[in-house]
């Protein structure tokens, strides 16, 4: 491994300050400085898959936008594959793939196949590489039946798979994923994770992903960075993030009528009651099935749902631990 490989992504004291103008009355405006990214430093070696997590507004997307060259940093030094993204945006663009969970990079009115053909010509992908990559993506992401469908008619999960394929057709060395599983159904999530794991393992593609879903991190990344208020709060192995192991899922149950808090369910405790609805917390690692049957056996159950642990909870716990 060369020096270049050990620090494939190099971030040194990078800052991004926005000036926000806010209307205060009819004419008067207030100017305020917002430090979206406040002195971040890290290195990512080639081929690593890193989770970049944090609450909303922590600076995750801003970091990704600086790494891709969309945004110019206000300070600090940033290199990807030895290239300064802000100065050499288009040169770097050939070597990276980007997926924005919230918006598509595909052409809204064109069928996927046409979008891919455009990507091929834009990135000048050799015919043989294009064919091999497309076949692989179509197979692993299950796109065969979607190729002739205009992007606007795809479901969110289908579109996301289509987007991920588009980002990988030109064999990028680094792949940025901004909330790739947001709003996806369970099957799509699983497919996307499986595919990303394979791309990382077999192609050696460096992957940086932001997410709200802790399961993404648990299943994909050995290394996690937690960012909050524009600063790196934690950078290390998943196991070091104690709170993940201790995090809890929530079973939300709707009972037939208002009842006193549910008791006597092993491994769960009632944390909230609101009319006929009650919230039960249980360890994230435990299965929900025995819990559900225990509740159903003892209480008049109408409906239920399971909430995954939230990044916000994990970070809150992290703060609590540091303080304590």
């Amino acid at each position: 491994m060369t020096a270049d490989d050990a620090a494939f992504i190099e971030v040194d004291g990078v800052e991004k300050v926005f000036t926000v103008r806010r209307r205060a009355g009819w004419v008067r405006r207030e100017r305020r400085e917002v430090r979206a990214v406040d002195g971040i430093s890290f290195r990512v070696p080639r081929g690593e898959m890193v989770g970049y997590i944090g609450p909303n507004g922590a600076g995750k997307s801003t970091t990704i936008k600086m790494l891709t060259g969309i945004l110019v940093p206000s300070g600090g030094r940033l290199r990807v594959a030895g290239i300064d993204p802000a100065a050499d945006r288009t040169r770097l663009a050939r070597r990276m793939g980007v997926v924005f969970g919230q918006r598509t990079t595909l052409w809204w009115d064109l069928p996927l196949r046409d979008s891919y053909a455009l990507v091929r010509r834009m990135y000048r992908i050799p015919d043989d590489r294009f064919r091999v990559n497309l076949e692989r993506c179509v197979e692993l992401l299950d796109l065969a039946e979607l190729l002739e469908v205009p992007v606007r008619q795809l479901s969110l999960g289908q579109r996301m798979r289509g987007d991920i394929a588009a980002a990988l057709l030109h064999d990028p060395e680094v792949l940025y994923l901004d909330e790739p599983t947001i709003g996806l159904d369970v099957i799509s999530k699983a497919k996307v994770r499986e595919f990303l794991r394979e791309v990382n393992a077999e192609q050696g593609t460096t992957v940086l992903l932001t997410t709200h879903d802790l399961t993404d991190i648990e299943q994909l990344c050995r290394r996690v960075m937690v960012i909050d208020h524009g600063r790196v709060m934690y950078d290390g192995g998943l196991e070091g993030l104690h709170a993940v192991g201790e995090s809890e899922r929530t079973l939300v149950v709707d009972l037939e009528r208002e009842l006193p808090p549910i008791t006597g369910i092993p491994g769960a405790r009632t944390v909230r009651v609101e009319g006929p609805r009650q919230w039960l917390a249980f360890p994230a690692t435990a299965s929900a099935a025995p819990l559900v049957s225990a509740v159903a056996a003892a209480y008049p159950l109408v409906d239920l749902s399971v909430r995954e642990p939230d990044i916000e909870d994990v970070i809150a716990k992290m703060y609590a631990e540091r303080a304590g």
Partner: protein, 320 residues
């Protein structure tokens, strides 16, 4: 440039230059070195790089345009209806002039054939630009909804992507109308076609289209700062072409000064056309001023290019 062109389309490679087929499971690095495309200009200085970018821009523009045309043609009936509709809407402009001339024989001292000449040249130049660059109007929406970012992660110039986005072939309607009326006016005008006048006609149309293009691009750049102010652009583009459909004698000297010295719309057709029609130039301008149109067009394009770069830079530092 030569390297870039040879690299443009892999299928265009002569056999001996075809890159070695790489195994499917090669590492990213191996593959990169096997193709080495963008290294074509490495170490060749900024001029080669800029040249490559300009070439890339044009190439990508036509790639995207081709895709849109094909997708438009998939709904042929809809396309025909839209083109006809477009033709009728633009024809309304001329309907006004026709209705006016049903009451008068001259407007501002210009007869119907002369006004139609102005109308035809203005519409043709504007139509060409509207077809090629009209989509830049939509950039404010992209800034607002954040899809601008998706253009910035691609390895091709943003302006080309913006201009080609949703390319609307139906805008041909305006060019068709402009050319037909221009042809009609030429048949009915009494012009002494000396060689300089013959030359000036195509030069005027091309320079005019370029001046309009610079207004479209500058207007798009403005939207990086004021993303919902797309209409300001229309006052110069659509407003400009409407203004130029009428004789300059109709307007006051303040208006004339503004469109000669501030926003040089007068060079799109008025000043060259006055030379062709053998009429005196307004506000004391010399007789040869119409020949300055190409220079003015080049200057406008350069300024618009700077405005675009400033706008993109502002966007990239604020992200909104």
């Amino acid at each position: 440039m030569a390297e870039a062109r040879a690299d443009d389309d892999v299928r265009a490679h002569p056999p001996e230059q075809t890159p070695e087929p790489t195994p499917a499971r090669a590492t990213a690095r191996e593959r990169r070195e096997a193709w080495g495309y963008e290294e074509a200009t490495a170490g060749r200085g900024p001029r080669a790089y800029r040249g490559l970018r300009a070439y890339q821009g044009v190439r990508v523009y036509f790639l995207i345009v081709g895709m849109w045309v094909r997708s438009t043609m998939a709904y042929r009936t809809s396309f025909v209806i839209m083109t006809l509709g477009n033709l009728v809407v633009t024809a309304l402009d001329f309907a006004v002039i026709a209705l006016m001339f049903s009451h008068v024989d001259v407007l501002g001292g210009f007869g119907l054939a002369e006004v139609t000449f102005l109308y035809g040249t203005s519409s043709t130049a504007f139509g060409i630009t509207d077809l090629l660059f009209g989509s830049t109007e939509r950039i404010g929406r992209r800034v607002r909804d954040g899809t601008m970012d998706t253009l910035l992660v691609r390895p091709v110039p943003v302006l080309a992507q913006v201009a080609a986005d949703r390319f609307a072939l139906r805008r041909m309607g305006r060019i068709v109308q402009g050319v037909v009326l221009l042809g009609w006016s030429l048949a009915h005008l009494d012009v002494d076609w000396t060689w300089d006048r013959v030359l000036l006609l195509p030069v005027m149309l091309v320079s005019g289209a370029a001046i309009f293009a610079s207004l479209f691009v500058a207007g798009a750049a403005f939207q990086f700062w004021a993303s919902d102010a797309a209409e300001v652009q229309s006052s110069f583009t659509y407003g400009g072409t409407t203004l130029l459909q009428y004789p300059p004698t109709v307007f006051t000297t303040e208006v004339l000064r503004a469109v000669v010295f501030v926003i040089p719309l007068a060079f799109v057709n008025w000043l060259p056309a006055l030379h062709i029609l053998d009429r005196p130039q307004p506000i004391g301008l010399p007789g040869w001023v119409g020949f300055g149109a190409p220079l003015v067009a080049v200057a406008c394009c350069a300024l618009a290019g700077l405005a675009w770069r400033a706008g993109l830079r502002a966007y990239r530092s604020t992200g909104s």
